[in-house]
Each structure stands twice: as structure tokens, then as C-alpha cells.
Symmetry: C2
């Protein structure tokens, strides 16, 4: 664990099984700073938002918090006033056990929708959870937030700033092929950099646009999605607005989130291939992104990926649905370095056979160039196969 979950000065972590999951697996995680520290988050844009999302968003309006509480096994979404009460009482129990103001505890939940969170289990577990808090507890925290994830997801960066070295530790949950009741992406980044709330918020917004917002599995967003960054400042290394350090910090944050997003896309139920759809040559980056997103979310492209089929007709046709004007007769398409379409025309069976060898691998790029301008964008996607149907067509139990 030590390598994957190194210490982040200023934080302690814990995780345990509180009995929310029927399986008895760990389902309650806590991350705590030494004092109220700058925090920023982005939340789901779904109109339907779980109680913990509403509470965390409200509490974060100050720009400061001290603890992040997560449960898996129950999303506490679509649970009305009793659900709100459950979120409030469970975070209050943690605040009491920590001896801090409840407004400093940010709750989050992931799991089945429409069932009330069993707050009493969290209330009962709160003292033990706080007792377990440890500098090297991030692995336990990561374990507790897993749902259908096949593996823990983590990313780490060290960064030499003018004021000293800082670290960023990212921990996430979310499976590529999204599970019926557990569609949520939760990601946490802990850093000891000294960053003011406004800068943290801006950096997170930029970094999210370059990571989670350009990764897709099945085009769904959940009622509970959240990406949270907490900055303890314990390193003493300042990151000031407009400074070189700010650019470095934002870049490192984007890299951590990008790595987490890629781990989520790759950890698919039945997904064997991750592709980065790279679009270039549009009039603007926004146009490139529209095309990349349309290709990345096309079911026909995703099933072709599953079949390791260099089916460029589907790629080109998906690009043509993006609502972006381009001339199909100048489009090129390549799988990594192997061009299969030039000037809008297929280059034939031997080029496709070369491309299909690459598509047998776990990761490759699908490159679409529309030959008009300097715009470019990329989007992560994965294949879709039988396991997605099996997992998602099963009855809830």
C-alpha cells in the first residue's frame, strides 16, 4: 500500500465496514485535515441530486472544510426528507466524534438509488472510524469507497514548487461500464500545497474539463457524482494566482484527475479496450470536442471496438452526426499510426488488417482529422460488450 497511498502531510484517513453493504465489505470512509482548509468540488449536473450532493455543495460555499465522509452501498438519492435527515445525522455523528463543527464535514454517498441511507449504522460506526484515522490510512479509505470497481484507483504526483515540494494524492471510484445502482463517480484529491479556495476552485474546474469531462463510458451521469480537492497547506509552499506555481499545480491536478478518469474507463464490466479519440483540424477546439464526444459515445463505434473491427464507416458516420460542418472528402482516420481513411476514402483491406492488430490491444488512439483548421480535442472511451448487458439488464436485488 505504501507506494500507492503515500502520506499527504496534513491528512489522516480511515475506512471500515459499517454494515451498509450486504456483503460485509468496507463501506465507510473518512478523510480529515488538522483544521478547516481550502476545499473545492464539482458536482453532477443532473437535475436529480442526492441529499449528500445538496449538503456538500451548501457546506462548500464557504470554501473551507475539514472532513470528507463517504459511504458506499447506498446513494441516498431520491429519498426525500428522510434521506436529507439521514445525511445530516450521519455527518453530525462524525462531527461529534471529531469534535468539530458539522458544517466542516462534506458527505458523499454511492450505491443503490431510492433506498434510505441507514444513518444509524454510520452513527454507530463513527467513533470507531475516527479512532482508525491514520496518516497511512488512504488505502483503507480507497477500499471503502469501491462499489463494482475491480481495483482501487489512485494517482500520485510530486511537484517541486518555489516554496518547496508538494504532493497530490488522488483516489477515485467508478467502473467503466456503469453498474445499475452504482453509477457514481467519486474522486478525491488531497494535497499539502497552500492554495486559496478561489484558485483551488478555478484549477479544479480547468482540470475537470481536461479529465472527467472528456471521458465516457455510456453517456450517463449519476445523481451523486463529485470530484473534491482538499488542500492542507502543511507544505508551506504557496500557490498564488497567476504565478508559475499556479500553472504547475493546475497541470499536476489535471494529470492526477486524467489518470483517475482513465482508470475508471479501463475498469469496465467486460470492457477490454480503451481508446483515446483524437480529433484535429477543426475550426475550433469546441468543434473538435463535439466530434470526439460523438465518436466516443457512438454505440456502433463502441461495439466495433469490442469486435476489434477497424470499421471506419462507423467512425466517419458518427463524426458526421456531431453537428459540426466539415467536408467528408478531406477526412483522414487512423488507428494509432496506421491510416485507414484518406481524403474520405478507405485505404483498403491491408491497412484495415494492420489497424485491427492494434485494436486487439488494451489501449490505442482513434485519430480523426478533418483538415480544416487548428482545432483539436480528445475524449476517452471504452468498448461495450456482453458483460455490460448482463450487469445492467439484471434485476435489482
Amino acid at each position: 500500500m505504501a507506494e500507492r497511498f503515500p502520506e499527504v502531510p496534513g491528512f489522516r484517513f480511515a475506512g471500515l465496514a459499517a454494515g451498509i453493504k450486504k456483503t460485509g465489505l468496507p463501506d465507510l470512509g473518512l478523510a480529515v485535515a488538522e483544521r478547516p482548509i481550502p476545499c473545492a468540488a464539482v458536482f453532477t449536473t443532473n437535475m436529480v441530486q442526492a441529499a449528500p450532493v445538496k449538503v456538500a455543495r451548501e457546506r462548500l460555499s464557504s470554501g473551507y472544510a475539514q472532513a470528507a465522509l463517504v459511504n458506499s452501498g447506498n446513494a441516498n438519492a431520491c429519498t426525500g426528507a428522510p434521506g436529507m435527515a439521514a445525511t445530516l445525522s450521519s455527518s453530525a455523528a462524525i462531527a461529534a466524534a471529531l469534535g468539530i463543527d458539522v458544517a466542516l464535514v462534506l458527505p458523499s454517498s454511492t450505491g443503490v438509488i431510492g433506498q434510505l441511507l441507514p444513518a444509524e449504522k454510520i452513527v454507530a460506526a463513527a467513533p470507531a472510524l475516527v479512532d482508525k484515522l491514520a496518516v497511512h490510512g488512504a488505502g483503507d479509505f480507497a477500499q471503502a469507497i469501491m462499489t463494482t470497481d475491480k481495483s482501487q484507483k489512485t494517482a500520485y504526483r510530486k511537484l517541486a514548487l518555489a516554496g518547496g515540494e508538494v504532493v497530490l494524492l488522488g483516489v477515485a471510484k467508478g467502473a467503466g461500464m456503469i453498474h445499475p445502482r452504482m453509477a457514481t463517480t467519486l474522486a478525491f484529491v488531497f494535497t499539502d500545497a497552500k492554495v486559496a479556495p478561489a484558485l483551488l476552485r478555478g484549477a479544479l474546474g480547468q482540470a475537470t474539463e481536461r479529465s472527467f469531462n472528456v471521458a465516457t463510458v455510456d453517456g450517463e451521469t449519476s445523481t451523486n457524482d463529485m470530484v473534491l480537492v482538499m488542500a492542507s497547506g502543511v507544505s508551506g509552499a504557496h500557490v498564488n494566482e497567476g504565478s508559475r506555481e499556479a500553472a504547475q499545480f493546475e497541470q499536476a491536478l489535471a494529470e492526477v484527475l486524467r489518470e483517475l478518469a482513465e482508470q475508471i474507463v479501463a475498469d469496465g464490466e467486460g470492457a477490454n479496450h480503451v481508446a483515446e479519440v483524437q480529433v484535429s483540424g477543426t475550426d475550433s477546439d469546441a468543434a473538435a470536442r463535439s466530434i470526439a464526444q460523438r465518436v466516443a459515445t457512438s454505440l456502433l463505434v463502441k461495439t466495433a471496438m469490442h469486435g476489434k473491427d477497424a470499421n471506419w464507416g462507423r467512425i466517419l458516420s458518427a463524426a458526421g452526426m456531431a453537428g459540426v460542418a466539415f467536408d467528408p472528402d478531406v477526412v483522414s482516420i487512423a488507428i494509432d499510426e496506421v491510416t485507414i481513411v484518406r481524403g474520405g476514402l478507405g485505404l483498403g483491406a491491408s491497412a484495415e488488417a494492420e489497424a485491427q492488430k492494434i485494436m486487439a490491444g488494451p489501449r490505442y488512439s482513434i485519430r480523426v482529422s478533418v483538415g480544416q483548421g487548428e482545432g483539436k480535442a480528445s475524449y476517452l472511451t471504452c468498448d461495450i460488450g456482453h458483460s455490460y448487458i448482463d450487469v445492467n439488464a439484471g434485476y435489482r436485488s
Copy 2:
């Protein structure tokens, strides 16, 4: 055949096997009027458009045509200048055999993308095809345009107008779960009503909005989609702009197209259930349509349909992604008459069990009411199962 493909005064039809399909099944169809008649069409909005789409659109700018030529087995899309030449020469051969101006022949193609249409086969078959033209040949025409369709698709309306009785015969192809190389929807409506081109165009636009544009299988649009209506006028019954007859005609046209669209959605590779997503209570019809479309295209909803699971959390969450503001706490959801969510809260296991009985059937409605205004809309969709993956992940051959 006589009942499904009745005579439409003023038209003759034919279909035969020209050798374009490797299977030797019929693959060339022709519908011909006695003279140039008013015609209107809507075409795919994909930026990538096959040669026959470009040619038919250009020829239709006059508002008149006399013959519709269709081949299956080859889409002639992404085939460049040789593809354009193939479309021009094959329609020229038909025009020559008919003894009419080539500008009166509207070509269309459906099948594999990226392979050149073997025009020589159409040229060779043209005389025999024209020889076969018959008043009762619509069944042969319908047979010739099929690709992965499990059955011929047809719809029929008789309409008593002030000037006499008119008929509308619709013929379509397209499978619910869209086949890799044959993603195209082609629909043709033949009528003996007397309608000017501009009115025909307007009526088709309206009718398409109420049929094909609110039906989804996998969110893909092809390079070759076309809906064409041809009005022979032989009945002598005039349909004039703004008249009661115009409203009647438009309604009948919409019904024919709606019936064809529903047959296409139901004819899915592995699809067992068709649902009409009915959204009401929004501020506007457009808002209702956005929600209905998002629910109808949600992979998680479509896999829940496949599993016969009244998983309202997915329905509500999909609705929440539509970009339409609503209060989740006043939403109701029902499967046909069985309400499973009221005031944003699930009504429990027994209501869901009732709903799941309905979801075992071939057709039902998913009703979402957001309780705000008078807006409403509906959208047809189908479930998605293993066969979709099998068909679409297979290698092209």
C-alpha cells in the same frame, strides 16, 4: 400480398435480384409514376452523405420526379467520384429503360459503407426491372429494399376527402437494432392524392417530426437515410393549402410514417420490448421532447427494459440529464397505468412488481410527469440486449 400492398392508382412497382447482395436475395426495387408528379423527401442530417442522397436531393429541387430506384446490399457511401459515377450511370440506365429524363429518377441505396456500388449489375438488370413493373408489385418492391429486416414493413390508409377517396401506401426498411453496415432507414409513401410540391414538402416535414424524428434505436443516423413521398394525383382529389383536406392528409401521412417507424423500432435484432416514453407537465413541448429523448436513448434505461426491471432510478436520472430544469420532488413515473414514483419517491416493491408484469409484454408506455406545465411529447424506443452486441461487434465480411 394483396391486403398489405394494395394498388395505389398511378403507380407501378417492381423488385428483383440483380446480384448486388451476395446472398442472391432481391436487391433492386423500382417505383414509377405515369408522368412527372409532385414529390418531397427528407434526408439524413449526417454531414457524411452517400452519393444517391446527394443526387436525389439535387433532382428533387424541382419538386417533381417520376421514378424511385432503390438498391440494397451496398450503400455507395464514402466512395468518392467513382461512387457518384455509379449512382449516375445506374439511374441513367433506368431512365433509358423507362424512356424518361434521368433527372426524374431518384436513386437511393442501403447496405455496406465504403464499397463501390456495382453499377454494371444495375445497368444489366434495368430492362428486366422495367419489364416487371406492375400495379400490384409493391410487395416485390418492399422485398427488394430489405437488409437485416425480419419482415416487410408497410402501412396503409384510406382517406375520404371532399374530392373523393385517396390512399396512402407506406413501405419502409430498417431494423430496430441497426446493423453495422446497413444502418439506413428508407421509407416511401405513395399516394394518389393531388397535392402540390410545396404542400407535400410541408406535410412531410410535419409528419416526420411526429414519427421518425421521435423514434430511436441506438441514436445513430446513417449516411443514406431518406423518407420520400410521391403523389400521383390520379384520384383527382385535391389537397389545397390551408384546407380541411390538408389537415386530414397530413394526419394520415403522419399515421403511416408513425406506423412504419414503430415497425422499425420493433424489428430489433434481439429487441423484445417497444416502449413509448411519454413525458408531460413540462413548460413546453420542446422541453418534454428533450426529456423523452434522453430517457429513450439512455443505455441504462434500455438495458433495464431488456431485464424487465422497473428501475425508476434510471428513468429519473436520465430525465435529469436532459438539460431541462424541473423539480425532482414533484415527478411521477408510471409504467402504463401503474404508478411507481410519486412526488419523486418510489412507491415500493409491490408497485414495482405490478409494473414489471407489464414490462414483460412487447409494448408499454413509460410515463414521466414533471408537474409544472402543459408541455408534452413522446418518443419510441426499444430494449437493448445481447443480440445487438453480437450483430454489431462481428467482423465485417
